[in-house]
Structure formats: structure tokens, C-alpha cells
Amino acid sequence: MSVALERVSKRFGEFVALDEVTFGVDEGELVALVGPSGSGKSTLLRVVAGLERQDAGAVRIHGEDAAPLGPGDRRIGFVFQHYALFRHMTVFENVAFGLRVRPRRERPSGSEITSAVKDLLQLVELDALSARYPSELSGGQQQRVALARALAVQPRVLLLDEPFGALDARVRKQLRQWLRQLHDEVRVTTILVTHDSEEACEVADRVAVMHEGRIAQIGTAADLLRETANPFLGAFLADSPRPSASAKRIDYH
Amino acid sequence: MKILKTIARLTLALGFVAPIGGTAAAQQKVTLLNVSYDPTRELYKEINAAFAQEWKRRTGQDVEIKQSHGGSGAQARAVIDGLEADVVTLGLAYDIDEIAQRGKTLPADWQTKLPHNSTPFASTVAFVVRKGNPKGIKDWNDLIRPDVQVITANPKTSGGARWNYLGAWGYALQKNKGSEAAARDFVARLYKNVPVLDAGARGSTTTFVERGIGDVLIAWENEALLSVKQLGPDKFDIVIPSVSIRAEPPVAVNEVVAQKHGTSKVARAYLEFLYTDAAQAIAAKHYFRPTGPRSLAKYGDSFPKVPQFTIDQLFGGWAKAQKTHFADGGIFDQIYSTAGK
């Protein structure tokens, strides 16, 4: 298990955002987390990243209890819905950030950083724009920068919180295919939060459905589509924008 | 408190706070703080230089006199609040009485410590009118004519303006054989002619001189002469009334503070110096009327002769005058609230 949550609960005041969630992701796996707004998807990612502390339960990363680790020590790559790029830094500097802030002893040399960043930018196909500022990029380009920045620290786990949520349908589609390819290339354990069940089914090895702070169902896309045991789940998947397209995709899988 | 101390130390280190006085005897140079009122800035600047020379000659010690000026009442308040004055030279005895009573840094009988009720030089209340005196203002009773606009400051806030008020009152009292009712009526009519009451004496001078408001400015003679000279000898004339009040700005050593600074001796010498011929000459130059008999003889002629009454004679001293006329709900409050109607 690359990431394991054991009966993790998180409350905001009276409100229970995560309700004893138990959930694991295998090494190199890409799991999609779907569910309605407010069901606790972001909260779960933030707990794994260490940006929020759970009230109860344990988070393990590669078998190690993450409790004593701060967000900076977990070797997590986090991609935010609205990119959260450093607006005053160039694309290059954004990607280099995670390397530059390392303690002196572990910090790569200037030339090592340059070549590492160049490689990453090539990987996300943005090497031509390395001197641009975030405000001078399209949404899709910004999100790729965010991804490259998260990958730069060689994370053990990649957490993507609705990475394509703010993009238009066409770009989304391109990017999700591209993400799948990228994942096949680097094979880093990934949790992808999305609203879009089609997207989930298309890119993920497994899909987990959240509902009111719990994991309602988890399985491969095909399993989930077949099984409509859970009435809520049925409704959710039926709600998805293009059921025919997702069905096709699943046949194909 | 730690922050305060740090800032205090920092400013000290940067040489901005010369500790006033300090352990003066051991030091080469001694510093005095003279807390005074507004119209004496120019006067004391000159006197301080003269005294420093004199003190150096007499004792070999350098003395620097720092000056602080403001409205007389506000300055008294500052001393009460802890402004470390070695000497106070204010516009009226009442303000020093307040220091004695509330600040307790000088004795209640301070006024007996120096000659002439601790008043080294005096002034009187006079009128400034526009050049050529177009309204034909000659005496106090012209000020209550309906066609005359009078400029004077608020006696509640300005020490100088209190003298003006009492001057008018005293004139009316003498004119009407001591009738309080007549005096009250006269003063009420006078303040009905005042379009703006500035808070301070310099403020009303500015109103009259620079903003061109009013036909006559009631002011201390020295202030009147100075402003006319500075601002336009060709624009204003000075009128001396038939009788006026003797304005007595007193001086005192702020004893507790001076003792703490170790400056009692030099502070007293400084105030005594004000009575010397040299200082009296400087005072005369700044249009203050000397009180020393010899100086009077010498400079008396340069000031117009005018019969003067004093606070003690007509009002039974400052404490009483203050209470009757200027305290909240006193006569000024009563007549001014009706004057507007």
C-alpha cells in the first residue's frame, strides 16, 4: 500500500467532513475520487497531504505513519484546482521551487536544477514557455506547470484536486488523455479528485465514490457501472454528462 | 514596558534626548527648560542668549535654555502632566496656581518669591484697527456699537483673551460706579459683536490680520505692536483706550523639578536676571512694559500713558476672577449663550 487511510475522521466544528474513512491506494495506481460537492473529497486529499490534521484515525504513506510529518516532509505532490502557481515567478522558477527550498545539504547544484527543470518542462511540453509568468499562460498550460512543479520534488504520491475543473471541455479531454499517458510514463501513485464520472472512468485504474464523508463504493470503473446496488451511486453515474461515452470507454477498457 | 525602555535607550543613544538638567553640578553644561506661552518666543530667545553670557561670566558654566511655547493654559496642563520645566513663565497667575495645586511641583505662595508679584514685565490691553481707523474707534465703549465687529479669542481657552474680557469688564465697572449689572450688560453687548471666537490669541490675530475679518482686534499691547510691525505698519493702527487692565504675566521656578535636575540655583538666577536692566531693556524692545523703577524711568516714555487697574484691585485676584467669570456655568458662559441670540 502506497497510501493507506485507517478510520480517518475529520470534523469542522459540528460538521463531519470525513467519517471513519478507510481506504488504500496501491503503488503506482491511479485512483479517481468522485462524489458530489461537499462530500469530503478535498478534505481527504488535504488530510493525506498534511494540510489538515485528522481528528481520529491514521494516514500511512508507504507503511509509515504520517502523523509526525508536516506537509513538507511527506514527499507529496499536490495540484490544486486553481493551480496555485506562484504568480511572481516564471514557469521555470515555479518548477524549480521545490528544489531550491531544500536544505543546503540536500539541495542540487544550480546546473542540476536547471537540467531537472528542463526535463520536467519537456515532459509537460512547456519547455518553450519557461520564462513566461503564470498570468501569461492559458489555463491548460498553467495546470501542466502545476503538475511539473509537483513532480519536481519526486513525490511518492501525487494528489490532484480537480485539476481540470476550471478548463473547458475540449482542453479537459486532451489533458486527461495526456495525464493518463504521463501516469503510464512516470507511474507515481496518484489520487485524482474529479466531479466528472466520465473523466474518472476514463483515466483511473480504480474509482472511489464519496458520499457524505464516507467512501460509498470502490472498484474498477467497469465493476462500478455494472453494480448499481447502491441507489445513490446509480444516480450519480447516471447523472454523468455522457453515459454513452463512458460506456464505450469501458467496453474498450 | 520593555519596548518603551528600548526606544528610550535608542533615542538616548542617538543623542536626541539631552537629559534635561541631570546631575548638573558635576556637568560642564547645564540645561534649563523654560515653559512659556505663545507671544514670548522672540523675547525669550534674546533674553536666553543674554543670560547665558552673563551666567558664563559669573560662574564659568555654560547654560542652555530650551524653550517650549503654546497657549498658556495648555502649557500649564503639560507641566502638570509632567513636562519637566525648570521655570514657568506663563500668561497669567491662574495657570501657575493650577500647577501649584494640581501638579504640586511648586509652592502655593510662589507669587511672593520674586518682586512685583513675580512679574518682571507687564503689558496692557490695546486695540488694533485698520489703517486710518475708519470706524473711529477710540475707547472701549466704541466696541459695543452695532456697526463694529470685534475680534478676540475665547476666554475659556485663551489666557490672553481673559485679560481682554476683564479689561472690558473693569472699564464698564469704573464707568458705571461699580455696578456689576451694568458691567455684565456691557460685556454681553461686546461679545455680541464678536463674529468668531478663536481658541488662542495668535489665532485671533491671524483672523484679523490675514483673513481681514473684523474692525478691531483686542490684543495685548506687545502682541499688537509686534504684529503691526511684522505684518504691515501701513495697514494697521494701534489705539490705546482711556483706561485698561494691567496684564501681568508672572514667572516662577518649578521647584520640585528644578531640585530633581539640580538646577534650582541657576533657575532662580535666570528669573532674577529678568529684573536686571539688561533684560528689562530687551523686554522693552519686544514691547513689554518694564516693571523695574529704573527701567520704567528709562523706557516709560516710549509707551503711551494709560491708567491701569489690576486683577487684584478689581477682581480680588485670579482665583476669584476665574471662578466667577470663566468656570463652567460662570458669567462668560451665561452671557455668551445669550449673546448669540
Binding site: G72, M89, F97, Y133, A150 | A8, V17, H69, D81
Partner: protein, 309 residues
């Protein structure tokens, strides 16, 4: 001095890309050329009347008796002391309020501190009370008849009527300026960039230094300029707490009033011109900083574009 706080976005450097967008937006709102010229005319006339003219008069009056008299007036020891004191006061008050402003804005917008509404209200307090009242309150605390006065006296610490008092009063009066600038700015920016930095392994200080500070720098600069202008120009509070000891606790604005009341107009306006020049220098420094930043950025983009085929 009354201060209006404009929304931050209106002032802080607009990226070049946005500028073009603005231009088309103006065209799109479709006001006629005449209307635009009238508006510009009104704005210019207003600026001239309320800024240009007074500034002109200051220098006019200062130089009335000739350049020689002007410089003689400026060489006066008390005036020079007042100038030095003014710089010292600003030099202490501004950095302290920068530290306070950043901490307060951080606590309020990002630190999720409880009761931050109260903190905001408190930080605004000095704007709401008249400086004279602030000065009198200060006396109530530190004056001999006040709360701490007798205790301070007993421990031989003099606060009221010293340079320390002038500095403290100025700090109080200028306290809101940096915080006021930063709070809306930081609120708008949210915490995600900081969270991103933390997940990438940045320490608290690195996050602040490399992410937060650069993001707020223009707002901060503006706050510093406002704070500094007020620190150097403060009159009311300083007038009360300083005791007006000439050549000791009189700052430039106090000294100007003294000179004016002494009918020494040349010196008063000469000193005023100093104060005006200090303001101009501050603004020029701000402008230069901004410009060099934008120029550096433009250069970088240009280089980038040249490299591309």
C-alpha cells in the same frame, strides 16, 4: 489628514497583459471622446487646484526673499534638528509598523486567528480617532497625573514630553497604514500559494520570504509610503505629547507651526518645502522601484520571445 483606502487592485502594478485588456474594455464601454476629455479635464483641474497650487505657493513663499534667504533659513540649527528628528521618528515608526502590519495582516487573513474582526477593528482605531485625542489619551497613560506616570517617575523613566513620546505617538497614529493595505490584498490572494509552497517542502520562513512577501510587495510598498508620509507629517498627536521643546522634541511640522506663528514666513515655508521634498523623494523612490521591476520583467519576456523561432 484624512485617508481613504482605495481597493488594492486599483493601485498595485497591473501586469502588461491586463493593460491591453483594459484598453479594449474602455473602448467597449463606449463613452464618447468628449466625455472622456471632460473627465480628464476635471481630474487635472482638481489636481492642480488641490495639489499643484499649494505646492507652488509653498515654494513661491519660501523663495520670496531670494535663494540666499532660503538657504540661510534651512541652515538654522533648530530646523536641522527638527528635520533629523522627523527622519528618526519615521525611521523607527515605519519599520515597526511594517513588522506589525505584516504580522497583523497575516494573523487576520491567513492565520485563521479567532476574533480577527476585533483585531481588524483595533488596527483601524487610530484612523477613527482624532490625533489630538490620541495625544491626550497618551497623556492619560504616561502623564504625571495618568496611569503609569507616577510609576515611571519613581523608576526614573521619562516618557511623556520626550522624543520617546513623539516616537510612540507617531507609531500609534501610523499603525493602521501598512496593515490596512495588506489585509484586503492578502485576503484576496488566499492561502493556496502558501499551501503549495509548504507541500513542496518550504519552511515557514522560506514560504514567507519567497511566496508571501513577493506577492504583497507592491501593497506593502504603498503602505510604507502612506505610513511614512503620515509619520513625517503628523502634527496633532505629536503636538500634545512632545511638550514642544524647541530643538529637542519639535518635529518638522511642529517647527513649521512655530516659525509661522513667529511671522517668520520665509523659514516656515522653507521648512515646508523640505517636508514637501521628503514626500516627493518617497514617491519617486516608490515609482523607481516599481519601474525597475516592470522593466526587468519586460526584458525577461523579450529575451524569451527572441529565443523563440
Amino acid at each position: 489628514m484624512s485617508t481613504t483606502i482605495a481597493p488594492p487592485a486599483a493601485r498595485h502594478g497591473i501586469p502588461p497583459g491586463l493593460r491591453a485588456a483594459r484598453r479594449t474594455a474602455t473602448a467597449a464601454t463606449g463613452e464618447s471622446a468628449i466625455a472622456r476629455w471632460i473627465l480628464i479635464g476635471i481630474a487635472l483641474a482638481y489636481l492642480f487646484l488641490f495639489l499643484g497650487l499649494p505646492l507652488f505657493v509653498v515654494f513661491e513663499e519660501a523663495l520670496k526673499k531670494g535663494v540666499g534667504a532660503y538657504f540661510t533659513a534651512l541652515r538654522d540649527a533648530e530646523l536641522l534638528h527638527a528635520l533629523r528628528l522627523t527622519l528618526l521618528v519615521a525611521g523607527i515608526a515605519v519599520p515597526l509598523n511594517v513588522v506589525f502590519g505584516i504580522s497583523a495582516a497575516w494573523a487576520i487573513t491567513k492565520g485563521k486567528v479567532r476574533g480577527h474582526a476585533l483585531l481588524v477593528a483595533l488596527a483601524d482605531l487610530p484612523l477613527a480617532v482624532s490625533p489630538v485625542i490620541a495625544g491626550l489619551t497618551f497623556m492619560l497613560l504616561f502623564g504625571m497625573q495618568g496611569w503609569f506616570g507616577p510609576w515611571l517617575r519613581a523608576h526614573d523613566i521619562q516618557i511623556a514630553f520626550t522624543v520617546t513620546a513623539v516616537v510612540l505617538a507617531t507609531i500609534f497614529v501610523t499603525l493602521p497604514f501598512v496593515a490596512r493595505e495588506l489585509i484586503p490584498l492578502m485576503e484576496e490572494q488566499g492561502v493556496t500559494e502558501e499551501e503549495a509552497a509548504v507541500t513542496l517542502g518550504a519552511s515557514g520562513w522560506q514560504m514567507f520570504r519567497r511566496v508571501t512577501l513577493p506577492n504583497i510587495r507592491w501593497g506593502l510598498l504603498y503602505g510604507v509610503v502612506l505610513c511614512n508620509a503620515r509619520a513625517m507629517g503628523e502634527f496633532g498627536a505629536v503636538s500634545v505629547v512632545s511638550g514642544r521643546i524647541r530643538g529637542q522634541t519639535t518635529t518638522l511640522p511642529l517647527h513649521i507651526e512655530i516659525l509661522y506663528n513667529e511671522y517668520d514666513f520665509t523659514a516656515a515655508f522653507a521648512a515646508s518645502s523640505l517636508l514637501a521634498m521628503l514626500a516627493v523623494v518617497t514617491l519617486a523612490a516608490k515609482h523607481l522601484l516599481e519601474r525597475s521591476h516592470h522593466a526587468a520583467r519586460a526584458r525577461l519576456i523579450q529575451e524569451q520571445q527572441e529565443k523563440q523561432p
